[in-house]
Symmetry: C2
Subunit: 456 residues, 2 copies
């Protein structure tokens, strides 16, 4: 019988085929037309866990998309338990016409696998399925106890899992959570993320006249919600990136000198990073470094506006209702509910009586920070070093993984963010891709992590 | 043999059927998918002129949509010549789902005819076809010489007619132009428009990153074109309606005390007007009355924005390119080309180096004013008074009819703006309609105008 790492190496071709099958399922959780596909993806993932040798595999019904649970708990009472989290849902793939290959027909070009969800998060969560499989197929057992909890609403607010966690503390009880849904710095520079930003998402509608009006007949006498939207957006954040909502920064935990020094060591190649974005230049708060702005500072961004006439050519319309989507990325210790309230109060103060504003809440989640001295973090460092041949760096990530804060709050456990994506993966954008060597090294890292954490 | 007015009265049923047939042709000139329909509308209108007894009827090819020309020139050398202008093209009908009846299936409810183009301008230009028909069918002749020039690009910039006029001064030579493409104040209060605003329309694209980016990974480090668009819009016009583009007001001819007094006499029922718009309140420059703001002051309005993710739910994207449509309504003596240059220079000064801006020119036209003491204006007053039973008021209109300035410039003639629309017609919006009694009174007004102007 071979060892898990040799087994995993010998089965890489099959792993890729399986991942492609997973990626062909368009499990877009925010789009109701894909609800059937999302259910198919849940079942597919549950079957994969069963095939891998996991036990008690089940789909847990929720008001929206099912959770997938599985465990293997025969490592002994002294062995620690890890709770592996991931998500089987994906972002919408629009705009479709910018994809060079179809988003739900996974395509390998050079060392990359192109598909919506390839890196975020199907390709990453599947690493751990293959790691436990490699152990169970070769050793017949795992070095530690393992639980999986995988959701289908990460890209649409995660409400079902948020409700499930506090009501199922025993089922989910563990010593540490393990999440692979982040990026490392570069193909050969592993990184452990110890901080994540939180999120406060708001949908906003502004209404002026009761119907679209002719701007010649009514312009100058009726206020225009698109013009007012411009004033609101300009009022929310200055041109340097400083958010202008009163109280927005009140609870922001200042960066310590020690942490700024740690972040300053990150080997970020700023010009390569910029080239990847295609933007004319980097930008942001002048008093903070780029690394700090990307991970350790709160932001406010407009993600979408639609209003008035948007077809070809011109039309001289005073629009009735216009729509905007705005989010704020939060840092410790900002409170998403409080930030939402400050946002809405401030926007209401900017809206004149000639316009009506309504809000619809998007998802909210606090930021999180994990102490990087704990044993599981040390096990992750060893595992990364052995799989990648290089010591991982410690960093903060700008994205949001709300569940990390919820594990902390309800299960009392820290999370190891063991990412295998790259900053160049184009997640949430057309032509999302996944660096395949990281998929295979990820499986090795996960195998090594299970062993190392078992020794602690 | 009956007289023209009796003849017109007896044929109202047929006139309505004919107008409905005209309105069924979706001649949307800005949308290439309707180019075929627009050609059909041109031919339909030419045939209607031939049926009415007009001579030399022809379609004149242009790079885009044909012009329709016709004349009847047998009134004698001493008789004046009127050049009747109108347009057979219509605005786009989007958003379709807000129409209560199909936009291209004309529907009569109470006294209104609902259809795209019912009031703007098919239902108005057709008045004059029926007026000349009534004369020619009863008297066998017209009291004055009449020419028609009707275009198919009024809603898409009017470039073809703009190019045609200076090259065909003899063909179009006349003593006065007659245009029915404006509104009167209320069903029983006719009005003569002596001033029109001009237009400067700009399409603008802002590009930040080379592709859509994830706002978690890149937010705070890359500038967002939607946020920058907000700053630009806020920078273009203040919250009171004052345009902030340097030099914008430099050439604005101040309103004289005499004209302010004239405009103050307009019987505008402000609360009824507001109720019709459905807006919470009227709005605009505090130093000007509502009537002045609507007709005699320049404006700036955003007509459409599309950018980022606009589908259902949320998506955390930093968009690559966003699009905005903006126009400025101009007053005498603002110059559209100069205003466009001031706009672009100012916007460039607002755009940071982290964002690229590109402009695409929409249509431009100067504002116009007609002297209301000339004989044709007096003939129009008499004709309106007889048809409506009430003396018309004199007013300025906020819309733009670029051809009026071009007739002035190249043919050296003033224009009588003899409107039969109403402010409640919802032109350019869903559920456009036309008050049918005005259609019939309009035909009577046109018949009376031809007679009165012949006496001068």
């Amino acid at each position: 019988m071979s060892d898990p790492i040799t087994f995993a190496k010998e089965n890489q071709g099959r792993y890729l085929d399986e991942l492609k099958a997973f990626l062909r399922i368009p499990s877009v959780s925010t789009q109701p037309q894909h609800d059937g596909d999302t259910a198919v993806a849940a079942q597919w993932f549950a079957d994969a866990l069963t095939e891998a040798g996991m036990e008690n595999v089940r789909l847990i019904k929720t008001p929206k998309h099912p959770l997938v649970y599985a465990d293997w708990l025969h490592a002994g009472a002294d062995a620690p338990t890890v709770l592996i989290y991931g998500h089987y849902d994906v972002q919408p793939a629009e705009p479709f016409d910018l994809w060079e290959t179809p988003p739900f027909e996974p395509t390998v070009k050079d060392d990359y696998l192109y598909a919506r969800g390839a890196a975020d998060d199907k390709g990453q969560v599947y690493i751990h399925v293959k790691a436990v499989e490699a152990y169970l197929q070769t050793n017949g057992r795992l070095p530690i106890n393992v639980k999986f909890i995988v959701e289908g609403e990460e890209e649409s607010g995660g409400a079902s899992l948020s409700a499930f966690i506090p009501q199922n503390k025993e089922l989910l009880a563990a010593d540490i959570a393990l999440v692979s849904d982040t990026a490392i710095l570069s193909p050969n520079q592993p990184a452990i993320v110890y901080g994540l930003r939180g999120m406060c998402y708001v949908l906003m509608d502004l209404t002026g006249p009761g119907r679209d009006l002719h701007s010649g007949s009514f312009g100058g006498g009726i206020n225009n919600p698109l013009n007012v939207l411009g004033h609101i957006i300009a009022g929310l954040k200055d041109e340097q990136g400083h958010v202008l909502i009163p109280g927005f920064y009140d609870r922001v935990r200042p960066l310590s000198d020690e942490e700024r020094a740690l972040l300053a060591q990150l080997p970020l190649d700023e010009s390569a990073w910029l080239a990847e974005t295609g933007a004319p230049e980097a930008w942001g708060e002048p008093d903070y470094t780029l690394v700090e702005r990307l991970g350790a500072r709160p932001t406010l961004d407009v993600h979408g506006i639609i209003g008035g006439y948007t077809g070809p050519g011109g039309k001289t319309v005073l629009p009735s209702t216009v729509h905007a989507k705005i989010s704020m990325r939060l840092v410790p210790d900002q409170n998403p509910a409080e930030i939402r309230q400050l946002f809405e109060e401030y926007v209401r103060s900017l809206v004149p009586p000639s316009i009506k504003v309504t809000f619809q809440s998007g998802h909210g989640a606090p930021a999180s920070i994990t102490d990087y001295h704990i044993p599981a973090m040390q096990a992750a460092r060893v595992a990364y070093k052995e799989a990648f041949g290089k010591e991982p760096v410690l960093m903060r990530e700008g994205g949001s993984i709300p569940v990390v804060g919820e594990f902390q709050q309800h299960l009392g456990i820290e999370t190891v963010l063991m990412g295998f994506g790259l900053p160049t993966d184009k997640i949430h954008a057309p032509n999302e891709r996944y660096y395949l060597p990281n998929f295979y090294r990820g499986i090795k890292t996960s195998i090594r992590f299970l062993a190392e954490y078992g020794k602690k």
